[in-house]
């Protein structure tokens, strides 16, 4: 595996993480979190952890995001920070 590719994805992961925490809209946050999870999943796939990546793809990027969206839908998108 290429450590350069690894590094690029790591940077993306950090960027999406910061975005998910910083953005001032909960729905956007939730979607960015989904993106973060997906990046994470790629990263793990690169590292050879296929099972973990598979699980993260279905659980983290899939179901978690759905849960977040459902919760945001049932509460509010508004956030002050």
């Amino acid at each position: 595996m290429l450590w350069q590719l690894d590094l690029v994805i790591l940077t993306l992961v950090v960027a999406t993480a910061i975005g998910a925490v910083a953005i001032k809209d909960l729905l956007g946050s939730a979607i960015l979190f989904g993106a973060y999870s997906f990046m994470m999943c790629l990263l793990w796939a690169i590292m050879g952890a296929v099972d973990v990546a598979f699980t993260e793809a279905s659980v983290g990027a899939g179901v978690s995001t759905v849960f977040f969206v459902a919760a945001v839908f049932r509460t509010t998108r508004r956030t002050k920070d």
Partner: protein
């Protein structure tokens, strides 16, 4: 609070970075993590459990007890969401709304009387109702069987390829959640009712724990699938392989049911109305 947060984060982070100096190099084959316990799994796992996917072998057999409780954690989450959110029954004095599918006319029925007669032409809706997109509905309806088929494959083929009970269960659950999103929650619940997935959830874990208990009854330790050899009439190694399969099915059931359970409670605030 923000200031405090920054201080805590900076201090903790600095300490953690400081300790990385003594870490073994990343992806070093000679690091202790790769040389002490895990070689046994890689070298002997296939012989001892007949599962080429070492992760599955370790997950469901060597460390099967962890996995049992991991499944229980999911089960717990389902029960907790139900426990917290579910509003049992609905008061008889709320009104229900039914929409005539063809014309879009909405009928309000008080006292929760069921619509009699041609119910099929009406659908129950809530005040928040938004029209669903026909394309999405159709696409999902076509996709869902394939998703479920794939999920079953993932569960069944966990021995040989990435995947297993968890992933399969999640995908199965996701397929139903997809149905609930693309149509509405009621449609999904018509397929798999609340009582059904609640019981299925505990049955899934029961299958797992029960397999272990059967081993115990047969005089072996808990979860020692080798005991199943006596029932299945195969040699102990194959018995382990079969045991893993049974367990994976249980995990799949439990995870699927739990995810649906959580979703239906979260998306409807426990009302079990039309959901998102």
């Amino acid at each position: 609070m923000k200031f405090l947060g920054i201080i805590v984060v900076v201090i903790t982070g600095a300490l953690l970075v400081y300790t990385t100096g003594d870490f073994p190099s990343w992806s070093d084959p000679a690091s202790p993590a790769s040389t002490h316990v895990s070689p046994h799994y890689i070298e002997k796992g296939m012989h001892e459990t007949a599962a080429p996917n070492i992760v599955t072998a370790v997950l469901a057999d060597y460390r099967g007890f962890d996995t049992l409780f991991e499944t229980t954690v999911v089960f717990c989450a389902g029960v907790v969401c139900f426990f917290l959110l579910r509003i049992p029954g609905r008061s008889p004095f709320t009104e229900c709304q039914y929409r005539h599918k063809a014309t879009g006319i909405t009928v309000r029925v008080k006292h929760d009387r069921k619509m009699s007669g041609s119910f099929g032409e009406f659908e129950r809706i809530d005040t928040l109702w938004t029209p669903h997109d026909l394309i999405i509905q159709t696409a999902c309806r076509i996709l869902i069987p394939f998703i479920q088929l794939f999920a079953l494959y993932v569960i069944a083929h966990g021995h040989h390829s990435p995947g297993g009970g968890f992933q399969g269960g999640v995908i199965l659950g996701a397929s139903i959640i997809l149905l609930a999103i693309s149509h509405d929650l009621r449609t999904a619940l018509d397929r798999l009712g609340e009582k059904a997935h609640a019981i299925l959830c505990s049955v899934g874990v029961l299958v797992y724990a029960g397999t272990g208990a059967v081993c115990m009854v047969l005089g072996f330790n808990f979860l020692d699938y080798g005991a199943l050899a006596r029932i299945l009439h195969v040699d102990p190694v194959m018995a382990r392989s079969h045991g893993i399969l049974v367990v994976e099915v249980g995990v799949g059931l439990a995870v699927m049911a739990a995810l649906i359970w959580i979703y239906s409670n979260v998306s409807s605030r426990g009302n079990y109305d039309e959901g998102l």
